[in-house]
């Protein structure tokens, strides 16, 4: 089974969807203390790794050439904190995965994360556009972020020739890329919208930028006094590690070889079961152990996350076994593989579709 496997339709599709509905309901009924304990542990980990990382950077700052292993440890701990905060804590909490707890500190619509993107924009670009319209061309802006040509169905222009470079830059500045996604900068750059409107639209971001930038690039380095620079570089390195890692994980989620895209016409009359099928066919998992799942915020279970974005992510590993069985039973391809394999396929797509290409097949309804 691969990308060319025909799509389920009619009764067979509805039977597939009914099993997934039942699976969701079983897990909703089972929510409880274990989920609450888990997300609070994640929050402990975010807070403590941040303090440990920052303290290590301060300790190493006066003699960085001597204590560079301590400096590197500080960078790593701070990066782990940011990765956990953004992925396992922030991303999942903002999805409303823990809303059932009624705990105001873990509530999706008021959670603040350590990320430049204002949470209210994230709920629009990610929770709404990307999760409702996953891999629908023209509706899901995450397909190449308006910058990259990932699928042959996207129109080729000479601009695409430079995309290996754009992708590398996007990886380095991934946080900023995500933060400005909502603004659709392309429209301003092409002159379709006046820059005057940009300053109005960008206000939530501009209101957050001084804090978010000032924290890592001014406030915490200044606390080190004369040893400003090593702390600043350490913070920058931690942010860079976080950016690269999240880029790798997220690009593996929808841009592997067997992930497929859809046209708006295909989803016009889509049922809930059809939506489920699109999530499975458009997403791909990363195989790995518990550490991998934790550090990817369980986006290593991208398929399960897309099927049930509001179930606590710690359940995806258990859900995955059942989803796999349901997919096998109904003949729906289930796309998973090791990180090198999946990311290799992503890199190949970015390189290959920089040049003109045509879809080799179109998945047809069975």
């Amino acid at each position: 089974m691969n990308a060319a496997t025909p799509l389920l339709t009619g009764e067979r599709l509805e039977a597939f969807g009914a099993e997934l509905d039942a699976l969701r309901e079983r897990h909703v009924r089972d929510l409880g203390a274990a989920d609450a304990r888990y997300i609070r542990r994640v929050r402990h980990a975010v807070r403590w790794t941040e303090v440990i990382g920052r303290l290590a950077l301060y300790a190493a700052a006066p003699w960085p050439w001597l204590l560079w292993p301590l400096w590197a440890f500080g960078v790593l701990a701070l990066a782990v904190s940011k990765i956990l905060d953004n992925m396992e804590l922030g991303h999942n909490v903002i999805h409303g995965q823990y809303d059932w707890m009624n705990d105001p500190s873990l509530q999706g619509d008021r959670f603040q994360w350590d990320h430049l993107c204002p949470a209210e924009w994230w709920r629009i670009t990610h929770n709404h556009s990307h999760h409702q319209w996953t891999n629908v061309r023209g509706k899901d802006d995450d397909i190449g972020y308006g910058l990259l040509r990932i699928f042959p169905e996207q129109r080729w222009t000479p601009f695409a020739l430079g995309q290996p470079l754009y992708a590398a830059l996007l990886a380095v500045f991934y946080q900023t890329g995500i933060a400005v996604q909502h603004l659709k900068l392309g429209k301003y750059l092409k002159g379709q919208r006046p820059w005057r409107e940009f300053w109005m639209e960008a206000r939530p971001l501009l209101r957050k930028l001084p804090w978010q930038g000032g924290k890592d690039y001014l406030f915490f380095p200044l606390l080190a006094g004369p040893f400003f620079l090593p702390v600043l570089l350490g913070n920058a390195a931690a942010n860079l590690l976080r950016n690269l890692w999240t880029f790798v994980v997220i690009f593996c989620g929808h841009f592997t070889r067997d992930a497929i895209t859809f046209t708006p016409a295909q989803v016009r009359e889509e049922t809930r079961a059809g939506w489920y099928q699109r999530q499975v066919r458009g997403s791909s998992n990363i195989a790995g152990g518990r550490l991998m799942h934790l550090m990817t915020g369980n986006l290593s279970h991208q398929i399960e996350h897309h099927l049930f974005p509001d179930l606590p992510a710690r359940r995806y590993a258990a859900i995955a076994t059942e989803v796999r069985a349901i997919c096998a039973k109904h003949g729906v391809p289930y796309n998973t593989g090791s990180l090198p394999k999946q990311f290799g396929e992503v890199v190949w797509r970015i390189l290959r579709h920089a040049f003109p290409s045509r879809p080799r097949w179109v998945p047809k309804p069975a």
Binding site: R29, A33, G96, Q107, H128, K215
Partner: protein, 353 residues
């Protein structure tokens, strides 16, 4: 054009570390620690609580809402303060209803367990100083509101002309009996009678029977011309109103009924939806998603996917019962995050919109 910075992103970290250093501190309101627990009756107990911050000024008979976490979920329950204002610690007497969430929480709460607490609110009070008699009618856990008044009156030495009638099923369920006897011994003008609906009365202060026209004569004080405060289940309070309104100088009542028991017996076609922030009340059909119902009423609340995915339409539901249309589950508890697009009203509902 004004330009204000966003709230600082340090807040979550600040809240975390401060909460770790000061376990009673919470950015979401006051908390209290249980310092003592004592049995009040067979199925009731009195909790002495020490608030992290002193309670705001309050009056006897006022209530307090406590928040507690059970199996990962936060719940709220309201109780009447039974101690007197002025002390730092305060008392709540609670009934452990079998299978009740707060009872379950109490069963597993260790020493020093913490509760989230609200400011004192609401409450009944005597308002007619010129009334010749004051009568307190309490059924079941309604005794807490009556006891708050008895204790306040005793503290002022003003028990003359005060009567208390207290209904319970079995004798062992009655709270504060020893204290009431002691008060009666000290203040002979204080009249107290315990009505048993499921036990035979033996002692002089006991009587039997539910409140009805026949038992009116057995009340410890004549209700005619008296000021009457009544507290108990909805049915009891309704009977008090029916029997005494008109005869008494003033009847004030209060009842606590769990939201599920307040639902109409047969499904109704439309319910009242209160929009707490805008102060409007709409009549909306049950069964349709709230988002659609609000739009039909000409409103346009923020929303996104209409499928329960994106969370852009969530709003708090302080009161009422809703159904999650995705799986038909019924949610009687207050919620901080109700999704308008996949929830329907089951009974009257209040949402924070």
């Amino acid at each position: 054009m004004s330009f204000a910075l966003a709230p600082p992103p340090f807040r979550p970290a600040w809240d975390y570390w401060r909460g770790l250093l000061q376990p009673g501190w919470s950015p979401y309101g006051n908390t209290a620690r249980i310092v003592r627990r004592a049995a009040a009756a067979a199925d009731s107990e009195t909790l002495m609580l020490r608030p992290f911050r002193r309670l705001a000024e309050w009056q006897p008979g006022q209530h307090l809402t406590v928040g507690f976490e059970l199996d990962g979920r936060r719940f709220q329950r309201s109780f009447t303060l039974t101690s007197l204002p002025g002390e730092r610690d305060f008392a709540l007497t609670v009934r452990r209803r079998a299978g009740g969430r707060f009872a379950d929480w109490l069963a597993q709460a260790g020493a020093g367990a913490r509760l989230q607490i609200s400011d004192p609110w609401g409450g009944l009070a005597f308002e007619l100083p010129q009334a010749p008699r004051r009568l307190l009618l309490a059924a079941g856990s309604g005794i807490t509101a009556a006891m708050a008044q008895v204790r306040a009156a005793a503290a002022r030495g003003q028990l003359a002309g005060l009567g208390l009638a207290y209904w319970v099923r079995e004798r062992a369920q009655a709270c504060f009996i020893e204290e009431l006897h002691a008060l009666q011994a000290r203040f002979p003008e204080f009249r107290f009678r315990l009505f048993l609906t499921g036990d035979t009365p033996v002692a002089g202060h006991e009587a039997d029977g539910r409140l009805d026209a026949g038992t009116l004569a057995a009340l410890p004080a004549d209700p005619a011309g008296a000021e009457v405060l009544a507290c108990g289940p909805q049915g009891f309070v309704a009977r008090v109103e029916a029997l005494l309104r008109g005869a008494a100088a003033r009847v004030a009542t209060e009842s606590f009924t769990p939201p599920l028991l307040r639902l109409p017996e047969s499904p109704v076609a439309s319910v009242a939806l209160t929009l707490a922030r805008s102060g409007r009340t709409l009549s909306i059909p049950t069964g349709t998603p709230l988002l659609a119902a609000l739009e039909a009423a000409g409103l346009n609340p923020e929303h996104g996917c209409r499928a329960g995915l994106c969370g852009r339409c969530v709003c708090a539901k302080p009161e009422g019962v809703h159904v999650d249309l995705r799986d038909g589950s019924i949610h009687p508890e207050p919620s901080r995050a109700l999704k308008l697009c996949v929830s329907a009203a089951r009974g009257d509902l209040a949402i924070d919109l």
